[in-house]
């Protein structure tokens, strides 16, 4: 079963604009990860944020985490046509036997960046 919801389900923007995607989840987490998927094939790991972190940056990506609201956001700044893909958040529960690869994914946001 899916952990939570992603919002919006689809996002269409122009090159150079910023794109913000939101993710909500239901249970206590160890960490939250964002992945990108092109054309329905393999997923590419973008960033991992731990439950005791509030914000993390990687290049043009900025991720925030609010554990009190059980939500996260992914911001892509100065978007490019090559950023067009589906973006998924995924959580790792805060439980015994935690494995960072045993993920519960959201349904994803389809991002389209028009040149």
């Amino acid at each position: 079963s899916q952990q939570g919801e992603e919002d919006p389900q689809a996002l269409s923007i122009q090159e150079g604009e910023n794109a913000t995607m939101n993710c909500s989840y239901k249970t206590s987490i160890n960490n939250l990860q964002w992945y990108r998927q092109n054309s329905g094939r393999g997923l590419v790991h973008l960033i991992l944020i731990r439950s005791n972190e509030r914000e993390k940056h990687s290049g043009r990506l900025r991720v925030t985490l609010d554990t009190s609201k059980k939500s996260s956001s992914l911001l892509i700044t100065a978007s490019r046509a090559a950023d067009t893909a589906s973006y998924f958040c995924a959580t790792v529960p805060n439980a015994g036997g935690t494995s960072y690869g045993k993920l519960t994914f959201g349904q994803g946001t389809i991002l389209t960046v028009h040149p």
Binding site: Q2, G40, Y100, G101, L103, T104, G106, Q107
Partner: protein, 113 residues
């Protein structure tokens, strides 16, 4: 080194047949994961191996699904008596250990006709 390799990339089979999907993880990765992704959905966890043993198989939908990793490297996902509802993208991922992020293969798209 090479990434996670999955073969075949596409598989079409008839309802009721048996299929095997193969995953070659990144060399040296001890953890290996299988996921299933239906169209328009996020991936869903099936099973996780730590070394040769299945550490968590709670995501396998029923006893028609089975996976092995006999030497702690290559893994095979086996599906018996396939049904049309098994049609999906099957994704494999590996990680160095349980405390590092997973790297995904390109998946096997299974179609049951």
């Amino acid at each position: 080194g090479a990434g996670v390799s999955q073969t075949p990339s596409n598989k079409v089979t008839e309802k009721g047949k048996y299929v095997e999907l193969r995953c070659d993880p990144i060399s040296g990765h001890t953890a290996l994961y299988w996921y299933r992704q239906s169209l328009g959905q996020g991936p869903e966890f099936l099973i996780y191996f730590q070394g040769t043993g299945a550490a968590d198989d709670s995501g396998l939908p029923n006893d028609r699904f089975f996976a092995v990793r006999p030497e702690g490297s290559v893994s095979t996902l086996k599906i018996q008596r396939t049904e049309r509802g098994d049609s999906a993208m099957y994704l494999c991922a590996s990680s160095h250990d349980r405390y590092t992020e997973a790297f995904f293969g390109q998946g096997t798209r299974l179609t049951v006709v």
